[in-house]
Symmetry: C2
Subunit: 455 residues, 2 copies
């Protein structure tokens, strides 16, 4: 008999509660010039049932049955043992990957998209606006809105909009409307275009437009939806790690040694890691590694500061690692890892010494992605290759040390919509880029006088 390659869970084994890390670590509050931002202030932006989650200190939050039903369209997702990759590396390490690419949108993003769509629908909302970088999030929200019958409008960073026409088609197929950002449709967008008509756009700019489009809708029936960063997004994603724990137990693994995820805004990483952070807080010896690109090294090079999540400063100040809200990242292919900020929960967990962030170069990541595709079969999203590359580094280290370590990484999405990146890599047209310290210092000047997070 062959060894078990996939550990699966039945529908009824899917977790029925999310884990809220905010119950176990202290995060400085959102700030406005008037001081800490109260929940009510978010009312025009998010429905209050989600705002409640954002501020909750409850450790366990029930997943409503309606959300469970939506999640079960593709969840629980499989946990794979990467036997072929292990063999190719000749490592004694056991490598597991949680396969979030099986969702209809091809990534982990639908985990929070269906939850947010469901809560908004329940709150009486008719339409959601959002932004998207590489397009993973915009696709996921369009998918989720189709399921619960909400309108969906997506502001897509212009450079991605132009480079990835199929992402737009994907959103459109599910009924979402996608426009390039900056656009003429918002005040913020028009101002940005006036300043720089040829701007490639940025996630910060697109967020500003999406929020404006939501809060200025005179019907009051539109809200904004965010695919990463906030506490409730991280909360919804914890189903990844909670399933993984059950699956490791089934595989006879008492505890993993290393947990790895790529980190842009932090949501897929948070999803896998937070339930293990809980164990670490309670004494478990686990190395937890968020991986980011050298071209957008938020956690490894940015300071822990108060900064805005968007470039038009419509969002209150967030205590997080940041490269500055006006940072326009270089156009690397891992579009989902180009955000200037980072989830406040992930940021604080790093400050608290619960995680060890790491930056990698894109050529090494593409090389790892190709090795994965040729051994385990799935072509990874460019973002996901960062997690794979680090898993390979750790597996080689385990080989040197002769240790049978258990390495678990999040396979956050497949790369079928991102093949142009592989094409360029194979043609030798990609190069590495390290963001100069000088650029980071320059970007951060604007926020020098902001308050500093107290902890």
């Amino acid at each position: 008999m062959t060894e078990v390659r996939k550990i699966i869970l039945e529908d009824h084994e899917m977790p029925t509660q999310w884990y809220n890390l905010a119950a176990d670590i202290d995060v400085p509050p959102y700030m406005s010039p008037e001081g800490a931002v109260p929940p009510e202030a978010w009312a025009p932006v998010f429905p209050m049932n989600l705002v409640e989650q954002e501020y909750s200190k409850e450790r366990w939050i029930d997943i409503p049955e309606g959300v469970q039903e939506l999640l079960k369209l593709w969840r629980p997702s499989p946990l794979h043992r990467a036997f072929n990759l292990e063999k190719a590396l000749g490592t004694p390490a056991k490598i597991y990957y949680k396969n979030e690419s099986v969702s209809p949108a091809g990534s982990h993003k639908p985990n929070t998209a269906v939850a947010q769509a469901w809560y908004n629908k329940k709150f009486g909302i008719k339409k959601l606006t959002t932004e998207t970088g590489a397009g993973q999030w915009g696709s996921a929200l369009s998918f989720a809105c189709a399921l619960v019958d909400l309108e969906c409008k997506v502001f897509m960073v212009r450079i991605s909009f132009d480079q990835k026409p199929f992402r737009k088609l994907m959103m459109q197929t599910w009924g979402g409307r996608c426009v390039a950002s900056p656009s003429q449709e918002t005040k913020a967008g028009r101002a940005m275009l006036e300043k720089d008509p040829d701007t490639p756009g940025s996630l910060g700019m697109a967020i500003s437009e999406a929020i404006e489009a939501a809060v200025t809708d005179p019907t009051g029936e539109t809200r904004y939806s965010l695919g990463s960063v906030t506490n409730f997004v991280c909360l919804h994603q914890t189903i990844i790690g909670l399933e993984t724990k059950k699956q490791l137990k089934k595989a006879g693994i008492k505890k993993p040694d290393i947990i790895i995820g790529c980190a842009g805004g932090g949501s897929n990483f948070a999803g896998l890691s937070f339930p293990f952070v809980y164990d670490k807080i309670h004494g478990a010896d686990i190395e937890i590694i968020p991986v980011e690109p050298y071209s957008c090294p938020t956690l490894t090079k940015g300071p822990y500061v108060y900064d805005h999540g968007d470039s038009a400063k419509m969002v209150p100040l967030v205590a997080m690692f940041s490269l500055g809200h006006n940072f326009v990242p270089p156009p690397i292919h891992a579009g989902g890892l180009r955000y200037h900020g980072m989830s406040p929960l992930v940021s604080k967990a790093v400050i608290d010494g619960l995680m060890t962030p790491k930056a990698l170069h894109q050529l090494e990541c593409y090389k790892a992605g190709l090795l994965f595709a040729k051994t385990e079969g799935i072509i990874p999203a460019p973002e996901t290759t960062h997690a794979i590359a680090e898993a390979i580094i750790q597996a080689k280290k385990a080989k040197e040390e002769g240790k049978e370590k258990v390495i678990v990484f999040n396979f956050s999405g497949h790369g079928l919509m991102d093949l142009a990146g592989y094409d360029k890599y194979l043609a030798g047209q990609l190069s590495d880029y390290k963001l100069p310290d000088e650029t980071i210092r320059e970007n951060l000047k604007e926020i020098e006088d902001y308050p500093k997070p107290q902890y």
Copy 2:
């Protein structure tokens, strides 16, 4: 507790034998001018271990452990209950779909691709050649060859090669080499280009090129690989139906009432249906429906004849339904359903009254595909929409009749690489096309004098 939406199988529940329908129905032999083609004649084309399968009358054939290991990278695949679709239709029918889109290549094609790659490798072969229409098969074989370390060369029908550049990138990422067919690389290709330099190509042409490239390799270490039609391909695909049977049993379903699959060369349809054909032969009351497009109505309009599987007549005569080996189908989007012929096993099962073929128009199919995407979430491949459309027709019929029928269809693949078709459909740029009887008669003139299948 919510109802079970996905019936899954553990790795150890994956079937360990394939079902061979050739044990239960009689198919007329392959013919050459010298009479029935003996197994040895195929030696330059296929490795003998696969030829043996092609001629086997054994009912159950063991799946080698090596093949099982490869299949377990993504199999067993889930069987979903389409609750949301049922609700949208208000039907009392229970609709199930077998989700073959979860494979790394996104379709059912890898089921036979990994088996063929494994058998070729075992036989000492170093390189495989093949053809591909829409690109599903070329991608699947490139994927499989990467896993067992074989070279792979794919002749892709020119019109698809031009329309679907991302398919080429997908093959390339797995290490496959993809060229447009007709090409300058073969005698057959050059002859076709001389005759018509602007030909869009056809699957029949590409098959001729791929076979020539295999049999003329002076090293003798190259063989040809086929993604549909032959008996061994259908055999490898039966894992779909065998898993489905186990899953229906788990769901408490004694027997399905209706089995549906789209049919191009017949492989995904055979895969789901053959294990149920076995039951039907043994008395079970099951309606088994292969669905094809009106623009390429092989089973519904073609005669059951001896014809060549390729346009250059390199392949011996096959007893099958055919529109004529020189048929160049109109460029509909379901590229995988544009083959002039049909699997000899499927063809004979139709002749024997075990199946009821049906043709549908592409607009109805796209409409069904969109409804599926907005209810069940996954965007279907254009080919797959044919199965969905028929499932919807049957579910509506069940509603009219007030019967709680169990309908099972094969979700053969996702449409993430085929979004341009949805774009055109949504923009109102697609129309229906029914192949005129006159064109079919014209195409068939060339084979008038061929021997007729005896049965």
